[in-house]
């Protein structure tokens, strides 16, 4: 790798384009943030409302999964290009972990 330093000037159009992209992304992040707070409120309500644990636990788990996915896509930029490998490994790992937990739950502790 030859390390020659390169400077790049951006044209006005390029600048406008990035600006709009960033604005879009910002909107996505704020929306997600609002949704996540809302989901958290639901989780709290479910606990305070004294529903049966058989209902509350699955709900909370489900909400947690949704939040993790939002977190990954909107805050950790997994929706961007160039994250295909990370995505692939993340989901493979999650899948393997899921299988493991499933097996333990079904054939050891059931």
């Amino acid at each position: 790798m030859a390390h020659d330093v390169q400077n790049q000037m951006r044209t006005k159009t390029e600048f406008e384009y990035t600006r709009r992209r960033s604005a879009d992304e910002m909107r996505g992040q704020v929306t997600t943030f609002a949704i996540m707070i809302f989901l958290t409120l639901i989780a709290f309500t479910a606990v305070y409302a004294d529903f049966s644990p058989n209902l509350v636990v699955p709900i909370i788990l489900l909400l947690a999964v949704i939040q993790v996915i939002m977190q990954l896509y909107y805050f950790m930029h997994m929706s961007h290009k160039g994250h295909e490998n990370a995505k692939f490994f993340l989901f493979s790992g999650a899948f393997v972990a899921f299988l493991t937990v499933l097996t333990f739950v079904t054939i050891i502790w059931w």
Partner: protein, 621 residues
């Protein structure tokens, strides 16, 4: 290898290797250390076969026998096969993808030294009160009851060397994702690189469960944590699960890279493109995936229940499909090729029937009802030796002959190589084929002796006799190596004449920066393409000659791993010796201080300047 050409003194060379971050030298370190442990494990194997050669033998005691089989299995898998595989990965993969080194040269060295000290620690158990004796699987109900420190040596030693393996695996993943030369798309990667990639992914996901299991085991033994003790609410089966969630992917970590080596050898010596390249890639990835869904086939008789057994049986049998795809593709690669039977090619050709035998017995064991009969008998021993020796070890020996010229610029003697091959093949089949029948006749595995009236005498004697052939074969291989090193006859670039991939296009001896200019990869089998077009240099370049950024050598990885080694003694004798806790703290202090040094002291490496690269010496200072 510029350092050798410069004729340094012994001390300087030693220091060079202790501090090196060059993947080519780390490959040699892995090769030598892995080779050493292979001999150690081989000696243990010979002791096993001597003990079993005749009924009611008392060559070794029952307790010592358990230690020997445990250390044989553990040594062969973790300290011989894995590092030898890493030796070839290090030697070949960066060159094959057109990179100047792996992504993290410092970590590469750290990974090696952790493996090294973990292995030494494990083997010191022989001299410090007895080796582990609960089998390489170390099932909790046995290992928790094992007196002495053997099991602690096992758990701590594997923890350290396992950390090294994990580091190495991650390093190769990043290297292959990020460091490929321009034009080397995923679907142009040679199969050895592909299989290294998949094996590294398996390491990434399989070693953490082992780490967890070992920690629970350490806590149980040292602090009475009771994770695996059912009388205290624990569950001994959890260890079995954790071990096999690691263990089954591990056997694929052992075989996949060798599939890669064989693919290269078949294509090279059939002088044909590999048949069905994309199917080969797909099969490799699929095997990697399925490898994580089958671990409970090692536990059919544990009492998981019929449903669980059925699911895992079907999943296991499914693996035979992508494996079959590979076998046929290799056969079709040879079909119609102009085959040259070098030693490496002989190993590759022999591998196919040997591995098929192992695969067929595997599918037999995968049918749960039949496994109730076969489990824990010599049939299992025969199965896994056919896949591991017939697959992995043949692959390592083939790779040794094939890649030796790339690593050392000399060539192993082909005649001696062929003698080794035939002796090894004959001995291997004599030893293990008959063990299928011993298993069917009811001989259990892991017994230190057997009665004379059970009809097992003759078969055991034949089996032991076969082992002698293998020992002779390995001895001849060692003679071959010594002879080759003594003669030191340079063979130059592309010594096989039929090299297809980038690593053979580099001038020999390989410059320490690998590529003066990053190559441009123009297709699968890029060197072959260039040769076809009459390009004498063997490469098209992607960039003009420029400064090359290189990392400095470092002694820190050695010290970091050494700290863990010291600390492990403290952990081992905790609660028994007054010095244990101070030693533990001292060890961890050494490790963390050296980590701190690494983080706080900037080491930005150095540049080889364009002008130095242009002159004849090629940048040697």
């Amino acid at each position: 290898m510029s350092s050798i050409a410069q004729k340094k003194g012994f001390g300087a060379t030693l220091w060079d290797y202790l501090t090196t971050v060059d993947h080519k030298k780390i490959a040699i370190l892995y090769l030598v250390t892995g080779g050493f442990f292979f001999i150690v494990g081989g000696i243990e194997a010979m002791l096993i076969r001597i003990q079993l050669a005749k009924p009611d033998n008392d060559f070794v005691s029952a307790g010592l026998y358990n230690e020997i089989i445990t250390m044989h299995g553990t040594t062969m898998i973790f300290l011989a096969a894995m590092p030898l595989i890493f030796a070839f990965m290090n030697a070949v993969v960066p060159l094959q993808i057109g990179a100047r080194d792996v992504a993290f040269p410092f970590l590469n060295s750290l990974g090696f030294w952790m493996f090294f000290f973990g292995g030494i620690f494990l083997n010191l158990s022989w001299f410090l009160g007895g080796a582990p004796d609960a089998g390489w699987t170390s099932y909790a109900s046995l290992s928790l009851a094992s007196p002495g420190h053997g099991i602690d040596f096992y758990a701590l030693g594997l923890q350290i060397s396992g950390g090294g393996t994990l580091i190495a695996g991650i390093n190769f993943l990043v290297t292959i994702i990020n460091m490929r030369a321009p034009g080397m798309t995923y679907m142009r990667m040679p199969l050895f690189t592909w299989s290294t990639f998949v094996a590294s992914a398996l390491i990434l996901f399989a070693f953490p469960p082992l780490t967890v299991g070992l920690f629970l085991m350490i806590f149980d033994r040292m602090f009475d944590a009771n994770f695996f003790d059912h009388t205290m609410g624990g569950n001994t089966v959890i260890w079995e699960h954790l071990f096999w969630i690691f263990g089954h992917p591990e056997v694929y970590i052992l075989i996949l890279p060798m599939f890669g080596v064989f693919s290269e050898i078949f294509a090279t010596f059939s002088r044909k493109r590999l048949f069905g390249y994309s199917a080969m890639v797909f099969a490799t990835v699929l095997i990697g995936f399925l490898g994580f869904m089958v671990w409970a086939h090692h536990m059919f008789t544990t009492g998981l229940g019929a449903t669980a057994n059925a699911i895992f049986a079907v999943a296991t049998m499914a693996i035979a499909v992508p494996t079959g795809v590979k076998i046929f593709n290799w056969l079709l690669t040879m079909w119609g090729g102009s085959i040259k039977f070098t030693t490496a090619m002989l190993y590759a050709v022999a591998f196919i029937p040997m591995f098929v035998i192992g695969g067929v017995t595997g599918v037999m064991q995968a049918s749960a009802p039949l496994d109730y009969q076969l489990h824990d008998s010599y049939f299992i021993v025969a199965h896994f030796h056919y896949v591991i020796v017939g697959g992995t070890v043949l692959g390592l020996l083939a790779g040794l002959h094939f890649y030796w010229p790339l690593m050392f610029n000399t060539m192993l003697d082909e005649t001696l190589g062929k003698i080794t091959f035939w002796l090894f093949l004959i001995g291997f089949n004599l030893t293990f084929f008959i063990q299928h029948f011993l298993g069917l006749l009811g001989m259990p595995r892991r017994v230190f002796t057997y009665g004379a009236d059970q009809g097992w005498d003759l078969f055991n004697l034949i089996s032991s006799f076969g082992a002698i052939f293998m020992a002779v074969a390995v001895t001849i291989l060692l003679i071959n190596i010594v002879k080759t090193i003594a003669q030191n006859k340079a063979v130059g670039r592309d010594p096989w004449g039929d090299g297809r991939t980038l690593e053979w296009a580099i001038p020999q001896p390989v410059p320490f920066y690998n590529f003066k200019q990053t190559p441009l990869v123009r297709g699968l089998d890029t060197f072959w393409i260039e040769k076809q077009e009459g390009n004498k240099e063997g490469m098209t370049y992607a960039e003009p000659v420029g400064d090359i950024h290189m990392p400095h050598n470092s002694f820190i990885p050695f010290v970091m791993a050494f700290g863990l080694f010291v600390g492990a003694f403290g952990a081992l004798y905790n609660g028994e010796q007054a010095w244990a806790v101070p030693v533990l703290i001292l060890g961890l202090l050494i490790t963390f201080l050296s980590m701190g040094t690494r983080s706080l002291k900037d080491d930005l490496g150095y540049h080889i300047h364009k002008e130095d690269l242009m002159d004849k010496k090629g940048g040697k200072h």
